[in-house]
Symmetry: C2
Subunit: 193 residues, 2 copies
């Protein structure tokens, strides 16, 4: 058969470098880190109507390892949710597919909205030690996004795998970005059935 193999390059949008540079390091607490990923989600809407979702991997002291934003429409790629982008780039930076790295470093994933079915699966073996969420899956579904089939008691499943779960940190602020996206005319790609 003819050989025509595509390749893929994943690089964050250009506005992210100056965005990151504005923040102090480390970010001292959970709320400060969450506010940064919510701001990522907001800027992703402002800069071209990317999906209203942001995420980042931090180390436990609050130093940024890798940010992520939803790049589904930008990159024409249904896999590139904010959490997936942040995890893949963090693994690239560490040179390891397992961010636990033998438990030497304890890395944490912050996400502006609770992960969908795909990202929930990805988190299981990403090697992170903590998942911190802003808005809930219900908030995302309220504007029509499809979060996918929800595994029963996801938090307990992650906890059993050694991943602490913290829900609804700055939830209202995170969900407000969803509504802003809708008001701005953002596409609800892969809408809930």
């Amino acid at each position: 058969m003819p050989v025509n193999l595509p390749e893929l390059h994943v690089s964050l949008p250009g506005w992210i470098a100056p965005f990151v540079a504005r923040y102090p390091e480390p970010l001292p607490d959970m709320e400060a880190r969450m506010k940064m990923v919510i701001a990522l989600s907001m800027e992703n809407v402002r800069n071209g109507l990317g999906g209203p979702f942001g995420a980042a991997v931090f180390d436990e002291e609050g130093r940024l390892v890798a940010p992520g934003v939803n790049m589904v429409t930008l990159a024409n790629n249904s896999v590139l949710h904010a959490e997936i982008v942040a995890l893949m780039l963090a693994q690239k930076k560490r040179g390891n597919y397992d961010l636990s790295d033998g438990a030497n470093r304890r890395l944490e994933l912050y996400t502006s909205t609770e992960p969908c079915a795909m990202c929930f699966g990805a988190i299981c073996w990403s090697g992170i030690s903590r998942l911190v969420c802003g808005a809930s899956s219900e908030d995302a579904e309220a504007i029509g996004f499809d979060e996918g089939p929800r595994y029963p008691d996801r938090a307990a499943e992650l906890t059993s795998r050694g991943i602490d779960v913290v829900l609804e940190v700055c939830r209202a602020e995170a969900a407000a970005v969803h509504r802003r996206y809708v008001a701005a005319g953002g596409i609800i790609y892969n809408a809930a059935l």
Copy 2:
């Protein structure tokens, strides 16, 4: 904070182009397509001990859109399962994050082993119209891989989303590659807990 943003390039291993060139096009039936993805899984083991998993997106006439192999250890990236690679590259080729493309093209994902929790989620909104699997999740777990939390009745969930599911096509042949991987000393990354 200091700005050090990683980037990611996903390109298939070099052996895949000559591998693909050896096949006729189109591949006439389900079994022929499955045998090709099983051969991908086998070659992935032979060429450097990548995870023993292969996948491909075909159109309904059996023309290859994009192949995928497990690149977790090769690329140090826990997301790059064979199905994810095939889906992302197929979307890149089509220039669309939704492979259903308004239902004009009916694309199908073949995978040498039933998808894990992450890939199951990804499949939900990839836009494929059919999922065809070789070995079962139990086969992968039998050699120690972690398939992740299994959503109850996944086939019914996919069917309700308009995705036909066909299980256990050439299952024994696909599972034999798992055992070959173990015998060759392959790494069981992210082993089941």
